[in-house]
Subunit: 174 residues, 2 copies
DNA sequence: TATAATTGTTATATTGAATCATTAAACATT
DNA sequence: AATGTTTAATGATTCAATATAACAATTATA
């Protein structure tokens, strides 16, 4: 589903960080005698690199079901919270409601979700998964778990939990 | 230097992940009774959120010296490896040569770096920092360390090293 | 009731990043 | 020396994610 084309390597760069195939890896750079300066010791830099690696795999993984991280996350929210309106879902996910419109359009056109008229507020739409949406979500969750396992393996026993704990400390406590 | 404008929140979203001010935080979402599904337990999701938080702070931090992550990293490489050509620097950082051109243009126009004719290969330019570039880099490094400290504090003793170790396990061993 | 705020929407701008083509120099092979 | 191939730098263009502004309909509030 959904051609690879641009989706490959889409999230690859940002902090001028390499990480794949044709692009030289940092290790290769050092081996060629390039001094990376303090870069690899910056938490932000390494965090970014790791995130790109994971997303690269994740995006390829989701490609089978024609989803991207954003649309996948929407399905997840709708699956657990049927009936929310667009503002609620987009706010929970940090998507601006203005950009959320096209996202829902797409899900609706694919028959994965639907906008139902809200009973309490004629301005808003109650969002629901369709049966097809629920089915696709289930498949996507399986793929996600396989993806997750690939990286969990690398972290060793307890590594995943340790990592999550540390990462959460970086998040705003609010 | 360099107006805030767009630079604020530029790296904020992607995986449809909120994290700041006006945008509802995940915690707020849960409090409103929204079930985030498995999302917070996905390493990729939490990694992405943490990365956005750090970058948000990092970008604001660098704003004082008019740098962005990419240009900052270029200065670092040039500082430690004077004389490299554009292909070498861009490859080490994972920036495509083609997009690297404008980056160097900008640094050159700001008088921070310069292209010198390579002595061995008339096709390529030897990149060097100017004295102004070295000075700005020094200041930027100080800012980076302050930024780093803000997050290191949150991680507790040994947390930073632990986190770096775990993250490196996620990177391609090549 | 008058005013303000909210919901969904369209249109538009910005930016990071990828793609394609071109030029000139360097290199390799006959 | 002539040829073809690779490499360095560049420009032009495209694409996708995200941000901003404005608007109509509706609801909430002073």
């Amino acid at each position: 589903m959904s051609g690879i084309g641009r989706s490959r390597g889409q999230y690859r760069q940002l902090w001028a960080v390499n990480m794949s195939n044709e692009i030289e890896t940092m290790e290769q750079a050092s081996r060629r005698g390039i001094d990376m300066g303090g870069l690899p010791s910056f938490v932000g830099y390494t965090l970014r690199r790791a995130q790109l690696v994971i997303f690269d795999d994740f995006i390829r993984t989701l490609d089978e079901v024609g989803l991207k991280p954003a649309s996948f996350s929407v399905l997840i929210i709708l699956g657990s919270n049927p009936g929310l309106n667009q503002s609620e879902v987009s706010a929970a996910l940090g998507i601006q409601r203005t950009n959320f419109v096209a996202l829902v359009d797409s899900l609706e056109q694919r028959g994965l979700a639907e906008r139902r008229p809200s009973e309490s507020d004629r301005r808003s739409h109650a969002l629901h998964l369709t049966p097809a949406g629920r089915k696709l979500l289930a498949r996507a969750m399986t793929l996600q778990q396989e993806h997750e396992a690939r990286f969990t393996d690398r972290l060793g026993p307890g590594g995943r939990e340790q990592l999550l704990t540390l990462l959460e400390k970086l998040l705003p406590t609010e």
